[in-house]
């Protein structure tokens, strides 16, 4: 912005930063309605998780028996909506153990997001390593690894998760491992196929002819180019993983009471659907919104990285 001719190289440098493929992809992502909605919801959920202690009016795990004059499974009481002001306010009502439902939902955000990121994080790391080795080395190594992955995939994933928990024992941590294991073949296959196609490209051969080592070629040349597809799949999988964890907890195999996990909350109050619908409704809605946010964001990523679409929306 200073002297015209002296500024030329400077503008060029800025120009390239704004034109890397990653930057262009993210710009497209931010322009996508789906992704925008997903990101807003997700941002909101992350904030809720971080500031849970400030947002929750009650301790999520503490029973209010003898502390407040509320009944077991009392319905929502919101002062602004006409609930008598001499009664304590419980926005989403009180559960079977007389705990504030609203506080539990808020703390549940922490657990669900943690479940989503940790399980898929583990599955991505392990799956990528397996798939990269399989695709790059090829031959019988590839065959052995992929047949093993096929075996895992052949089981309905939920049944396999249940089987793994049966072996490891119930509990949130084991449920996390089970979900991660179930997701590994998905990423292994994805990365393998990306590696197979990328390793045939000429820039990889160019690297080889320059004298680069196989490890450098795999980790510096090939894998970074496989990341976009990986991000799409990971984002979509996080939603599914949260749902699976909630389902396992619903069945009593995952998070154990009194932990404020949405699936556990649903499971422990499922017999009261007709008498106290709020105890099932709110955790269900929370799960739905979270999964929806990840799916919207995942769809947005997929569209933003689709080169055919990129041409259409090219500025």
């Amino acid at each position: 912005m200073t002297v015209q001719d002296a500024a030329v190289p400077q503008t060029e440098v800025q120009d390239y930063r704004n034109n890397s493929l990653l930057f262009l992809t993210f710009r497209r992502l931010f322009r996508q309605r789906n992704a925008q909605v997903g990101m807003v919801i997700l941002g909101f959920l992350v904030l809720v998780a971080i500031f849970a202690p400030a947002l929750a009016p009650y301790d999520p795990d503490r029973s209010l028996i003898g502390i407040e004059p509320v009944e077991k499974r009392a319905g929502p009481c919101i002062h602004a909506l006409g609930c008598p002001s001499d009664q304590p306010q419980h926005i989403m009502g009180v559960d079977g153990n007389v705990r504030d439902q609203y506080s539990r939902i808020i703390y549940g955000t922490r657990i669900s997001l943690f479940i989503g990121f940790s399980t898929i994080g583990l599955a991505v790391v392990v799956g990528t390593l397996i798939g990269a080795v399989s695709g790059y080395v090829g031959g019988w190594v590839d065959n052995v690894i992929m047949r093993f992955m096929d075996v895992i995939l052949a089981f309905p994933s939920f049944l396999l998760a249940i089987a793994i928990i049966t072996v490891l024992g119930r509990g949130l941590q084991n449920a996390l491992y089970a979900i991660a294991v179930v997701n590994i073949p998905v990423f292994a296959r994805l990365v393998r196929s990306s590696v197979l196609s990328i390793k045939e490209l000429e820039f990889v051969a160019a690297s080889r002819s320059l004298g680069a080592s196989p490890l450098r070629i795999l980790f510096v040349r090939i894998l970074p180019n496989a990341i976009p597809t990986l991000i799409v799949q990971a984002t979509l999988s996080i939603g599914a993983a949260i749902l699976e964890a909630a389902a396992l907890s619903f069945l009593g195999l995952g998070a154990q009471p009194p932990l404020a996990e949405w699936g556990t909350m649903l499971g422990s109050e499922r017999n009261q659907v007709f008498t106290s619908p709020h105890l099932v409704f709110f955790p269900g809605i929370a799960i739905m919104i979270t999964v929806l946010a990840f799916n919207l964001l995942g769809d947005g990523f997929r569209d933003a990285m689709d080169p055919r679409l990129a041409q259409l929306t090219k500025r």
Binding site: Y16, L210, R216
Partner: protein, 331 residues
Amino acid sequence: MKKTTKRTPLVEVRELKKYYPVHGGLLKRQVAEVKAVDDVSFAIFPGETLGLVGESGCGKTTVSKAILRLEEASAGEVIFEGEDVLAAGGADLKRLRRDMQIVFQDPFSSLDPRLPVGESIAEALLVHGIGTPQERFERVLEVLRKVGLESYHAARYPHQFSGGQRQRIGIARALILDPKFIVLDEPVSALDVSIQAQVLNLLSDLQAELGLTYLFVAHNLAVVEHISHRVAVMYLGRIAEIAPRDNLFSKPLHPYTQALMSAVPKKHPADKKERIILSGDVPSPLNPPSGCRFHPRCPIARMGHCDVEEPQLRELEPEHWVACHYAEEFI
């Protein structure tokens, strides 16, 4: 002594073979072999350009990749400055690779889309541990200018360049290690005709300036005539004819070369020349014809001889080698 033995070749390919196994059946046993390159020998002398021409699938790209160990050859030797490239391993191979580079056909897939091109070019220096970051950066700018690009191009991404520019970047990447020998694998066949000429002239200029030796692989005879000093013609994995350019283009001695030449469009539409139309397709390298591989399509083939005995390369004129039993008829 013959004229050819006076110079020492920079690269010498000896009896190079590349067979691809074909697996089939229930147990995936090897049922056949594709003889992509079958017993190819030639030499490239310092400072010259050897053109390697042939139809699609005749094995010319396989030869070029085998020389650089991008494909492992099945048999044979590639002698580079007295060292066998195919037998070299580990550190020796890495050292040899500093002197041998390649420019690829497809300017779109030959650059990593994720990296600014300056980094793609600098990778070679990084891999070989040459220079400080500042020195590497300056060296990148130097080669960029050498191939006719500007220094600010280093910071741009491949998708911001045209095909011709990308091919220049590919050339810059090949040049950065100061190699002696560069394989040009159809470097202009993906480009517009007007850009082709620019890139070819760039390659000629660089050769004159840096004393480079080229193996120029192509299927376009006009391009090969423009840039090569000597030309080798391949057919079905073997060399049919190898000769100095002017000699080959003015007096092709192999019937296959003659047919190829007659297919080149004339410079003036009024020029009439006899077209030699070959019948049939290139036979499958899975099951090449007996004897001379060209005999089923050859206009002068004599049954009982050509389909039985495989012709060897013979030097019929100085430095003009032909693999045909009856090539004398054309002298």
